[in-house]
């Protein structure tokens, strides 16, 4: 409703994040904002203002789907919006995240060396040594590669459902969205 606000341009940051990861992986650390800010807003304010207003990824999918007309605009299959799937995907996503943190720990403790790969779709190790790392300590660089993989993977999946279903289909099963909604449920319990 009404004209564009400053936060309607967050998609630029989301797109920049993905592009800059090709040049310097250290910037992947900024992705933590997408992790902690939604939870902080949900915990402090008890709402989903992050999803509702600020989420750059949602805006990016919206742009691709609507402005570039890359979306079929079909309804998502029923199972995708079931709580089983949404919470199941959240658990799976967090398990993969924990695994990534463990790999960071292995490098931190010296048990394994820095591996300059970005893991895509939890399966494919894409060599990523072409990107700089701004002289980060090995464990911090490992985390950056890991986190960039998480962000790239979720973007790829989100793009797939953007094309197949409605532009922001990702929002239906976004782990952050599921988590912030759960936080809001607990916080606003009657």
């Amino acid at each position: 409703m009404g004209g564009k606000k400053w936060y309607d341009y967050m998609w630029i940051l989301s797109a920049a994040y993905l592009i800059l990861g090709f040049f310097n992986i250290a910037l992947a650390w900024f992705g933590l904002i997408c992790f902690f800010l939604p939870l902080a807003i949900a915990a402090v304010k008890g709402n989903k203002a992050y999803c509702n207003k600020y989420c750059g990824r949602g805006q990016l999918f919206d742009m691709l789907g609507k402005k570039l007309k890359l979306s079929r605009n079909k309804s998502v299959p029923k199972f995708l919006k079931s709580r089983y799937f949404r919470y199941g995907f959240l658990v799976f996503f967090m398990a993969m995240f924990a695994n990534m943190l463990f790999n960071t720990y292995l490098v931190f403790s010296g048990a394994s060396g820095l591996r300059e790969y970005v893991k895509i779709l939890w399966t494919f190790n894409v060599p990523w040594s072409f990107a700089g790392n701004a002289g980060l300590p090995p464990w911090a660089a490992q985390f950056a590669f890991g986190f960039y993989g998480v962000m790239a993977t979720s973007t790829i999946i989100g793009m797939a459902t953007m094309a197949l279903f409605k532009p922001r289909s990702w929002c239906v099963y976004c782990p952050m969205g599921t988590m912030t909604q759960a936080v809001c449920r607990v916080r606003n319990k009657k």
Partner: protein
């Protein structure tokens, strides 16, 4: 007959896509749990229903007006 929007509160993911497209400011996500329609403001245009990524908003006929 005039219509108004109804939300499946159980399946709503509270993403707020509907809020962004509503020309009347008649839909909101007050507590981050599900969207709520202000029936007095809703004109039943259906933009929110079309936008909803989860397809959990639909139009209902106003029988009492």
């Amino acid at each position: 007959m005039r219509k108004y929007a109804v939300v499946d509160e159980y399946h709503c993911v509270a993403c707020g896509c509907c809020v962004k497209v509503c020309p009347k400011g008649a839909i909101s996500v007050p507590h981050g749990i599900f969207a709520v329609v202000d029936i007095d403001k809703c004109v039943g245009c259906g933009l929110c229903a079309k936008e909803c990524p989860a397809s959990v908003v639909w139009l209902k006929e106003r029988r009492d007006i």
